[in-house]
């Protein structure tokens, strides 16, 4: 199977490492032999129709910070050109998320679908902006469009709902969907430290970004709620439809008062018909959503199975690659592999 990677940052590299590491596993268990025929970053493209030497490419990229150091790489060649001209089966769209325009991921995904490529992405931007359009376009062109890595990282919540809960009607989805804020709330709860202090600590550890706005204002969680509402509940929600409150005002004293009454405070996203909401909530101690650290957890409220909760790591290149690779295996199988 010929693969194109668009984006070669932490995730693109992490996924390449996983492809190397799991090569024999994939071949033995699924008869799947992925060849990465092109990798594109913002500086250019490395292309080889017979498959790139991923080890060499990773080394070059680590040393030079770009794929253009790879022998024969083309400086300045754009992703769109590679998507449209290079023969491939699956395009992985792994560029950074832009929740306002969805770009450049949106253009990449559209072009890939129109060229007849299957698409796997972890990019929330295009899903938040144009899920319906992309989903329809893929159906029309008869290609697979997979995005299980976009929500929950390693915890493939979308696949759980779509594959394992098929007999159920899903009434509501509730979850802890942002590892950064969950880490901050967990530390505040354990240490009684104020928000600012814990945020700085999280930034030093690389858990929070330099500009943590999207996380702490609840916007990242709202993006995921939008995606879950559209992909699982069949809604046509936009980001602005989600009533969003962040965690900035949560004080250690508030967490203490919650504890005294048997609760903890979590940033919870809710998606159900008539209600799309993100905000701090009181969660009973010992409840399946009361997960600590950077963990994510999602509860589906269904008619037959009642409540089902999945917990796992919501971020990290290796963990997210587990979802990306899962999508690739699904595509391979759906093609009769």
């Amino acid at each position: 199977m010929r693969i194109v990677l668009i984006g070669f940052g932490n995730l693109g590299r992490g996924f390449s490492r996983v492809l190397l590491h799991k090569a024999r596993f994939l071949s033995t268990n699924y008869g799947l032999e992925p060849h990465v025929v092109a990798v594109v970053d913002e500086y250019g493209a490395a292309v080889d129709a017979d498959g790139l030497d991923l080890k060499k490419l990773l080394k070059t990229a680590e040393r030079k910070g770009a794929v253009t150091g790879y022998p024969g790489a083309e400086k300045g060649r754009q992703a769109l050109d590679v998507i449209e001209k290079e023969e491939a089966d699956v395009v992985f769209e792994l560029t950074p998320t832009n929740i306002k325009t969805g770009e450049p991921g949106l253009t990449h995904i559209k072009a890939a679908i129109l060229t007849g490529r299957h698409v796997v992405t972890s990019n929330k931007g295009p899903l938040v902006i144009a899920f319906r359009e992309l989903d329809r376009l893929a159906a029309k062109k008869g290609v697979e469009f997979r995005y299980s890595a976009a929500v929950g990282g390693a915890t493939r919540v979308i696949s759980l709902a779509k594959k394992l809960l098929t007999a159920n009607e899903i009434h509501a989805i509730r979850g802890v969907l942002n590892g950064t804020t969950n880490y901050i709330l967990t530390r505040m709860s354990k240490e009684g430290a104020p928000f600012d202090v814990v945020l700085r600590e999280a930034q030093e550890l690389g858990i929070a970004e330099k500009d943590p706005t999207l996380d702490i204002e609840g916007i990242d969680t709202a993006c995921k709620i939008t995606i879950l509402a559209n992909t699982i509940l069949g809604m046509n929600a936009k980001l602005k439809d989600v009533k969003t409150t962040g965690i900035k005002r949560v004080r250690p004293e508030a967490i203490r008062l919650a504890h005294e009454a048997g609760f903890t405070i979590k940033l919870i996203g809710v998606a159900k018909r008539g209600l799309l909401e993100v905000g701090p909530s009181l969660v009973p101690l010992g409840h399946p959503l009361a997960v600590g650290g950077t963990l994510n957890a999602v509860t589906f409220e269904t008619d037959l199975a009642r409540e089902i909760t999945i917990t796992g790591f919501g971020a990290g290149p290796q963990e997210t690659s587990s979802a990306l690779l899962g999508d690739l295996i699904d595509i391979h199988r759906s093609l009769g592999g």
Binding site: R249, V270, G279
Partner: protein, 168 residues
Amino acid sequence: MRARLEMELEDVPGQLVKVLDPISRFGGNIQSVLHQRERKTPRGRVPVTVIFEVDERAKLNRIVATLRKMGVLITRIGEREGAVKTTVLLVGHIIHTDVRDTIDRLNALRGVMVSDLSLAMGAHGEESAARVTIAAADDACAKAALSRLVRISAEKKLLMIKLLGEKE
């Protein structure tokens, strides 16, 4: 909610255990049992009152149905006032935005009472936090109290933190 079941049992051994079993089996948390053996009813039976907590009406219905199927004579089913309790956290300038007014406006609703309020003061000029327990006669009253508190919080710029999945 807190439920109260009044029943009449036959005066033979093992009757009380028989009726308590389905109550706890279907999720009722038994608070008290009043078994008045000396006060026989006109039918010559023993009156028993059981008070228990259940978190859903569906469970109470199931308990009652099961008891009836077993042939237990239920003479009265009651729900206690203030049976629905909910907890809410508030963060903001709680005192300076007139906490008395906040409580009064909740208490003004029918079947609603603020039964507990714990306050943690912030440092000078900083926001405070409060835990408010609201007792309501039933689900509808609790819902009314929460939606009034949403309005008060918006007006007084308080952050309101509700229970997971409550009255959405």
